[in-house]
């Protein structure tokens, strides 16, 4: 028997403006539970804007279209509510917050989500052993426990920390914005392993990436090309490989043709 398809995210004709400039010009995308999507595209195509708009960044103005998340109006929710509902954004440039402890933030985040779901706060001991277990998976040193959020982390450490947060929060939908950029091959494998460990029929992952390198380690079900604020082409894994070979201009030209 084929399990029923459950739609997690439905983006319909979404357009958005940043600092008065139209960046997204009618994006359409459906993501079902259990799927991994890759959104690729040249620099400036709107990939990061799409990720930030979905996460609820306020200075990005939505000018049209709609987004539903598990049937609810995502755009009507403030950022924190989206997070509690199970949406996670892995930042392209994770922010350093000196003075706010890494683990404190993680725990506050997890408890906020549990509270929204009507669950009790996490037990301190259980939480710490969970964090340690996931840190081991991400090959992070225990000194991360005592440091400020991303404070003094290298680029690779910041990306691992993003994936660590994702593993603890167990989102239904993870949007990873260029989580592969700036990683050496070993770090890339660790990050990919972290993401793969979260793959599950109930969850979905959207990878936003410039290069197909990450897709050697996380196999996507669907690949989309975003260019000039629109999805120009969608396909399977082979589309990424073709892009790698022929470049983004090929998509743009074939569109015009």
């Amino acid at each position: 028997m084929i399990p029923p398809v459950r739609m997690l995210l439905n983006i319909s004709d979404l357009s958005a403006r940043v600092a008065g400039k139209e960046i997204l010009k009618g994006v359409n995308l459906k993501v079902n539970a259990g799927e991994v999507h890759a959104i690729m595209g040249p620099n400036g195509s709107g990939k990061s804007t799409l990720a930030q708009v979905l996460a609820g960044r306020e200075d990005y103005e939505v000018t049209g279209g709609s987004v539903s998340f598990e049937g609810a109006d995502l755009l009507a929710m403030p950022a924190e509510q989206r997070a509690r509902a199970g949406l996670f954004l892995g930042f392209q440039y994770p922010v350093e917050i000196p003075g706010v402890n890494n683990v404190y933030l993680l725990k506050a985040a997890l408890n906020a989500k549990r509270k929204a779901a009507g669950e009790p706060e996490v037990d301190a001991y259980d939480f710490l052993s969970l964090v340690k277990q996931k840190m081991k998976l991400m090959q992070m040193s225990e000194t991360f426990l005592t440091r400020g959020v991303n404070e003094g982390f290298s680029g690779g450490e910041k990306k691992r920390n993003e994936v660590l947060q994702m593993l603890i929060l167990e989102p239904k939908l993870a949007i990873l914005d260029e989580t592969d950029s700036g990683l050496d091959i070993d770090a890339l494998k660790v990050v990919a392993m972290g993401v793969n460990s979260l793959r599950d029929p109930q969850r979905a992952v959207v990878l936003v990436t410039h290069y197909q390198r990450l897709l050697d380690y996380i196999t996507p079900d669907h690949v989309h090309v975003l260019s000039d604020g629109r999805i120009l082409k969608s396909g399977d894994r082979s589309l990424a490989l073709e892009l790698e070979r022929r470049g983004y201009d090929w998509v743009r030209e074939s569109r015009v043709a």
Partner: protein, 467 residues
């Protein structure tokens, strides 16, 4: 003469001086009464005081033309007249209250112990004798007694009279202080000493001149907290002055906490004198008062001396906090650190001016000045100005000042993790101040300061949880 120099305030200070003349009623006394015979001050001291007064009157009240008073106007004060604040006995400040403060700042301890570690000055007048006898290694005497018996010692600490414009209130204190305390720390003290400065008045228009001299003998070590509070609805204009003189290899951790009522006006001068390899860690915390002017005048007089000054300046409601640091490296291999965190909400204004002077010959000196400001309301203001004056080569001096609002990127990052906006904002505010707080070695004092600080910040209930 400018209007300011001919102000009612100046005339009243001069009248106070005239009333100090031998045979005049004792200042601050509830009823007129002659001084005890023999209570007259020695000539050396009264000569010094007179010179201080003349110099103050010559400088007059500060105006916006004075470099260090650019952001603080005393115009409302100039038209007022001031008389001596009442003596302690007239006010009924009770030891029980002192004990409460002592326990809050020094940690819960038996009454006798808390009493021994606490020295109360009401309007500058010491409430002596303080309990059975303070800890060993410590000598506490009233300044009036020391002035009678060993005037040279007092003169030595008051000389030379300053002529810098930013030190004019110190001159007035030197001229008019009636009493105070002289503390000698002779060895390493196990327990901190609390000086509780109580400002209290029965009516507006009074002034107090608390004076504290702390001598730390060579090799000795101590922690001294000066806590300025208000008792009752009125408080005098407080013109306080403290001298910290550290001998060779001495160590001192000093706190001054301003926590008077919202209309209180406070001018405080803190002088720090460091001899060879002496180390002073100093915390200035502005948590109260309507107008607080906190001056630090530090001199690193001998090689190896080290000063670590940290300021936590909290602007709340319409409070005005003006902090001025002048740090002079007068010898080689001296080290100074100045760290300030200013936070302003409501319509408050916080000013932090710091100046480092490196004298000729003070080679291999090392100084750092850092001020960070955080604005929590559009009508609050923070001004900070680090300055450097270097008269020698081969020094390492760094300074930086930034002021801004809560970082929207940090805020969004936390929201995107599910934290609600209030919690995220409060967490950022707390993180901003943590630097200074974590440097405090007295955990009870730190806790008390933290609690009061949090109470004055927006969303204080949430912040309580981070402690």
């Amino acid at each position: 003469m400018s209007p300011a120099q001919n102000s009612a305030a100046l005339r009243s200070f001069e009248e106070q001086w005239l009333a100090r003349a031998p045979g005049a009623p004792e200042p601050g006394a509830p009823a007129p009464g002659a001084r005890e015979p023999g209570a007259r001050e020695p000539d050396a001291l009264s000569g010094l005081r007179e010179r201080a007064l003349r110099r103050f009157l010559h400088l007059g009240l500060p105006t916006s033309h004075d470099e260090s008073w650019r952001y603080t106007s005393l115009r409302p004060l100039a038209s007022q007249s001031f008389t001596d604040a009442p003596r302690a006995q007239a006010l009924g400040f009770e030891q029980a209250l002192a004990l409460e403060h002592s326990r809050a700042l020094l940690g819960d301890r038996p009454a006798a112990e808390a009493q021994a570690a606490t020295l109360v000055l009401v309007n500058g007048y010491p409430l002596l004798p303080p309990a059975p006898g303070p800890a060993a290694g410590l000598e506490i005497r009233t300044l009036s007694a020391v002035a009678r018996e060993n005037p040279d010692l007092v003169v030595r600490h008051l000389e030379p009279l300053p002529d810098a414009e930013e030190l004019r209130w110190l001159l007035l204190n030197t001229a008019l202080a009636v009493d105070g305390v002289h503390i000698r720390i002779k060895s390493a003290l196990a327990t901190p000493l609390l000086i509780l400065h109580v400002g209290s008045a029965d009516r507006p228009g009074t002034v107090a001149y608390p004076r504290v001299i702390v001598e730390v003998a060579p090799g000795a070590a101590a922690t001294v907290l000066e806590h300025h509070i208000q008792h009752g609805a009125e408080s005098p204009l407080s013109n306080s002055a403290t001298l910290l003189a550290l001998g060779r290899d001495a160590r001192l951790e000093h706190y001054r906490v301003f926590a008077a009522g919202e209309r209180a006006v406070h001018f405080d001068t803190l002088q720090v004198r460091l001899e060879r390899d002496a180390e002073c860690r100093q915390f200035t915390v502005a948590l109260g008062g309507g107008l607080v002017r906190a001056l630090l005048d530090a001199r690193l007089n001998e090689p190896g001396a080290k000063l670590d000054s940290r300021a936590l300046l909290v602007g709340h409601a319409d409070r005005h906090v003006d902090c001025v640091n002048v740090v002079r490296h007068a010898a080689a291999r001296t080290v100074s650190r100045q760290t300030a965190r200013a936070i302003a909400s409501g319509t408050s204004r916080v000013i932090f001016n710091s100046k480092v002077v490196v004298d000729a010959g003070a080679s291999q000196s090392d100084s750092q000045q850092s001020c960070r400001g955080l604005l929590l309301s559009p009508s609050a203001e923070i001004d900070s100005r680090p300055q450097l004056e270097i008269h020698t080569d081969e020094v390492k001096c760094a300074h930086g000042a930034t002021t801004g609002r809560l970082d929207p990127n940090m805020l969004f990052y936390m929201l995107s993790r599910g934290l609600d906006r209030q919690t995220a904002q409060s967490l950022l505010v707390y993180a901003f101040l943590a630097d200074v707080l974590t440097g405090m070695s007295q955990s009870a004092a730190r806790g008390a300061i933290e609690s009061e600080l949090i109470r004055q910040l927006p969303d204080s209930q949430i912040l309580q949880e981070f402690k």
